[in-house]
Symmetry: C2
Subunit: 316 residues, 2 copies
Amino acid sequence: MRDKQAIEIIGAIDLDPAKAERDLGEVVGASDAPWGVKVFADPQQALDLNADVVIHATSSSLAKVMDQLLACLEAQCCIVSTCEELSYPFRTQPELAAKLDAAAKEWGVALVGTGVNPGFVMDKLVLTLAAVSQRIEQAKALRIVDASQRRLPLQKKIGAGLSVDEFRTQVKAGAIKHVGLPESVAMVADSLNLPVENISETIEPKVASERVATEYLTVEKGQAAGVHQIARGLSKDGKELVHLELQMYVGAKDPSDTITLTGHPNISLTIPGGSHGDIATASVVVNSIPVILDAPAGLRTSRDLPIGFFSPSAKP
Amino acid sequence: MRDKQAIEIIGAIDLDPAKAERDLGEVVGASDAPWGVKVFADPQQALDLNADVVIHATSSSLAKVMDQLLACLEAQCCIVSTCEELSYPFRTQPELAAKLDAAAKEWGVALVGTGVNPGFVMDKLVLTLAAVSQRIEQAKALRIVDASQRRLPLQKKIGAGLSVDEFRTQVKAGAIKHVGLPESVAMVADSLNLPVENISETIEPKVASERVATEYLTVEKGQAAGVHQIARGLSKDGKELVHLELQMYVGAKDPSDTITLTGHPNISLTIPGGSHGDIATASVVVNSIPVILDAPAGLRTSRDLPIGFFSPSAKP
């Protein structure tokens, strides 16, 4: 965000006592700190600064962040949020979606939930590729991420190093889950006019076929190396119209993002190596700032917005 | 276009006496003809029907089609045009661009030049992929098309079967050229904020290394099999910041579309087999109807518009 000359960061919010009331540059360990930007413990103090846009990254759960989002809208701030459930909540949480849309319109601002996934690989990019198609019958996306190079919290979040039993227990408890696949299924189905009646989701462990050691932990053969999660959009008679598959595990052999559209004509697309989860998410969020500021008031989705690169010297 | 329930085709225009004043369904040889849609020889008669949008496909040259476009705008029709030079004319023909933009705003309608290339592979898709990047230093696109499966006029247009000397003569005469690469270079450079000062273009023959026979013609070893065209966006000191390369020839071995972005992070994308030129162009054009109808008045480009699939039953 600091690369973009058109943006001025005027404040930050963090409830963590170790960060609150300090300088943002110092909190993030920047070499050019201090930045003269304060981290507020009280969100309202930051919102009182009259920002044009709030970059919001606190939780995957839309229900949990409703009050935060409504406070930002009431302060007449546009919002770019990484809340996965906000990416396309019209099927999964229609009442919350309607409430946010109404509040955004009342205050004359726009908000969007986006990131690399949901927000890009399995929805926006699928729909962009679909522009070259005359007819579409089925959409598939497969994202394979090698978690070996990622940070420890992510490796733990995907259950790397757990026994298969522990993995399944944590899945049941809701602790292991990539959030956002059903939202992407819904966006793709609605946009391609595929008659999806039912969205299902499965989470299985990727079991290590050999020992894998990362900087942070070791996964023994037979232990869980990460998640293998599939969301399916099914027609009334059970036909799979949308298939979104995420394999995120340490030691993944061929990381890549692949989209496959069946129709007229068939067409596919591959990003060898895949888009980098951490950098790509931050980039999509920052690159969405000009488009959300320019969007009509209301709840928007990555489908509606002409995403691209936010030039460093561009005006937002 | 007939697949989309939201569209009604109300008229067509063709100056060809063999087509004019006949039924459109009969002219295109449709099995369900007649459609009750007339092909007009006089454009004004079609424009008097008060269409919401005109699909315009007559020439690659913006100067040649200016009067046609202005007549459509004056009739308060939005326009989706395949005129390659219209795709991003702000650098190459700024006066014509300004005139069209002003006329469109005066009449309260929007127009766009688009298709698969320019309009998608080498510009829109490049900019979409750029959304996952934090910093971009160079953009490359390579489109390899096997012309063997394409229609005879295209095979002739790319010089397949000519001697290398004849090929060069026809390039000099302007008869062999894919139009639109400099427009895509300009769109990419401006959107990624790459300091391109100079756009250059080369057209060379792809020389057949063995005999190739298509349904329509035969290319002997040593003859031209098609075009190898490169447009470059160069910085003031000659650094190549944008590189768009088209190889379109009969017998091409690995047809594909590939985009490569250098920056942070590096990222690339491949469409194996490539997007199909004829179907993809028509699809992008038809899929652009809802977005141009929804766009603010003025001259738009594929960069501005959130392209996707135009659902058969969607409202435009």
